[in-house]
Symmetry: none
Subunit: 211 residues, 4 copies
Amino acid sequence: MSRPQTDIEAGREKLVETAEQIIRERGAITFTIADLAAEAGMSQSNVYRFFASKDALAEEMAGRWFADKTAIMEKLVEEDIPVREKLYAFFARRLAVMQQRFDENPELFAAYMELGDLHFEVIRGYVDLADHYMAIILAEAMEEGYFRGLELDMVVSLVNMMVQPFCNPRVMMMLNRAADEEKLRLIIDAIFDGLHAPSGQTGETELHLAG
Amino acid sequence: MSRPQTDIEAGREKLVETAEQIIRERGAITFTIADLAAEAGMSQSNVYRFFASKDALAEEMAGRWFADKTAIMEKLVEEDIPVREKLYAFFARRLAVMQQRFDENPELFAAYMELGDLHFEVIRGYVDLADHYMAIILAEAMEEGYFRGLELDMVVSLVNMMVQPFCNPRVMMMLNRAADEEKLRLIIDAIFDGLHAPSGQTGETELHLAG
Amino acid sequence: MSRPQTDIEAGREKLVETAEQIIRERGAITFTIADLAAEAGMSQSNVYRFFASKDALAEEMAGRWFADKTAIMEKLVEEDIPVREKLYAFFARRLAVMQQRFDENPELFAAYMELGDLHFEVIRGYVDLADHYMAIILAEAMEEGYFRGLELDMVVSLVNMMVQPFCNPRVMMMLNRAADEEKLRLIIDAIFDGLHAPSGQTGETELHLAG
Amino acid sequence: MSRPQTDIEAGREKLVETAEQIIRERGAITFTIADLAAEAGMSQSNVYRFFASKDALAEEMAGRWFADKTAIMEKLVEEDIPVREKLYAFFARRLAVMQQRFDENPELFAAYMELGDLHFEVIRGYVDLADHYMAIILAEAMEEGYFRGLELDMVVSLVNMMVQPFCNPRVMMMLNRAADEEKLRLIIDAIFDGLHAPSGQTGETELHLAG
DNA sequence: GATGAATGAGGCTTCATTCAT
DNA sequence: CATGAATGAAGCCTCATTCAT
């Protein structure tokens, strides 16, 4: 309950915001501590009262990026809606947030990708959490008879792959915002309707690797 | 028409190779011009005879990365095999190449991703080419009755999205090599079997966005 | 005459002790004012109420180092024991104190040496005092017939030189604690038995400087 | 035989000299790389072509300090002069060099002491070498009957202690140049005439430690 | 009496790049 | 053609110290 914390917290907040602003103005994550301090109206040395190093600031920023998305997932899992729609919403809601961010400022978005590269641990944690929640939804779907013949782990992995453009910001960015709700819907349907173990008889893919 | 040109090309070659070697040894793209020159057995200043700047070198390196994969695609499109298998091979063959590179040296692989970030134009060109070839294959599939009710552009876009982990090295790396031929096969099948316009009656996804 | 003085003294005391403690824990004299304040449980700015500068603190610390040794010397001079033993005790008693301090914490000991370098004036005063007391003892010895042919000043200087490892903490430290009571005894004896003006006839040293 | 080495060596030389000059002008070892570069007429970055770090420069300087003294010792040991005079010369010759340096510039001398503190390894090597040579001389003296009743190791240690002001620059400096050839002669004589194992009967020191 | 906040000056080091030879 | 030498600009970080409250 000590108050000092609060002030420090406010300073951190301000710096993170200033950093975002700089990125927004300049594009890319090229700001220096000097830039940051200047823009935030404080001395370079004072920055170090709030973050022990430039790295620490970057880590904090990376962490914040996921805050709202984590909340979305947590909330959704507890909702009572049909499983197909649940999986759809699982991606759609986060997609909306990401798209908004991207549209607001693609450069800032890109800068956060860089930040992510620099602090992969932060990302890893978020990704694992997302996989966990997705597994819950997919298990529910399997109980209803979907993905016949496949193990849960496999389904999780496959679905994860097929929806990368909707949950992986990096891919989203690379595909330059081509991912939208309509496509997500079609893909989710293709997953529910077309994803199952090979039945052996019909025209399944055979090897044609020899280049 | 003077000979020097040739020597220039040889020098560029050597420098690119040296750069790769350094990355291989050190991991990540941290080499300096001094490092590069030393390893290549020439002076720092001489490096500038071959590349106008460090950036130019990076661009060259990024460009080379796609050379073999382009060849694979070009060749495949002309082969006469069933369309489902063709699409499968379209990704599987390149996947094999990328996986091999990744396994050989994950660090070098990662370094190339960084390089890609730095020189996105290079990547964009490759991606567009790949889309072009894929469109040819998918058009063929549509003639055979697949993806009913969907436009070619839409199909191209959707398929592209669903197979990102198999054609986008960055995603491949992020999923930590979870992408393999078996999963690709399942996904390709899901695409052929499950991807089509919504028929309106069955359990298709409905909107559940309201968080 | 106001009370504050007392508080100031208490604060100085506390800070000096805290500084010692930090050195003890960390080795070497690397603490910053921030460290010191934190460990002492006060604000950085408050430190300046007690010491005008970091330098002033260092000076105070250097001064305290000699307090007990000064007491030892003062006491000894007034004791009534044979002069040879008195000279021996003059060094032996202080040696014991220094060795104990060194053994307790060599790092702290070394840190004090640094402190001494920084504030030589403090040391100079102590050294002069020690010389003064030693002169009293040596004068007594000369009255008993020792050091025949030499002036008191010369004897003081010579003895001082020969016993550096037993009275100069820096030397003590450099010789890595090789100085002990046994050796001191042998040297004191050599001084009483061997130190006198050259008699001219026997094998005294002659010049052999020409390199 | 490559030439570049030479140039680098010249640069190192120049920087060391410049550093010495700065110390001479300013007193104490407070120069920064910026100072050094400015005084040497080059850019800060260029300094790093000659020394990998400020520390490396300091180490080099510390090392050079002993070069001539080492040469003196090596030469002396092989000379054929009476042992008492040899021991005397062993210290006297180096003393002369050190005194000259001290007189030339006490501040520079002091700065080198600091340098020594910072790079003790360098010093340790020199000290060990000196002890080695001294042991050779003292062993010779023992063969002639001196130091009766004492082990060589003990004699080395004791003599070492008694002549600190003549061989340990730090002590020399502390005693403010009181050490001179005359005193050295008296002390060497005292050593030869007075240093031996206690004979038990005469007025040897007894314990008077109880403060 | 005591604090938190803030600063300014400076420290070391790195590196792409240039240029005279 | 190729080099060695040199640079300048910048980057991150540290710390004693001050000052309004």
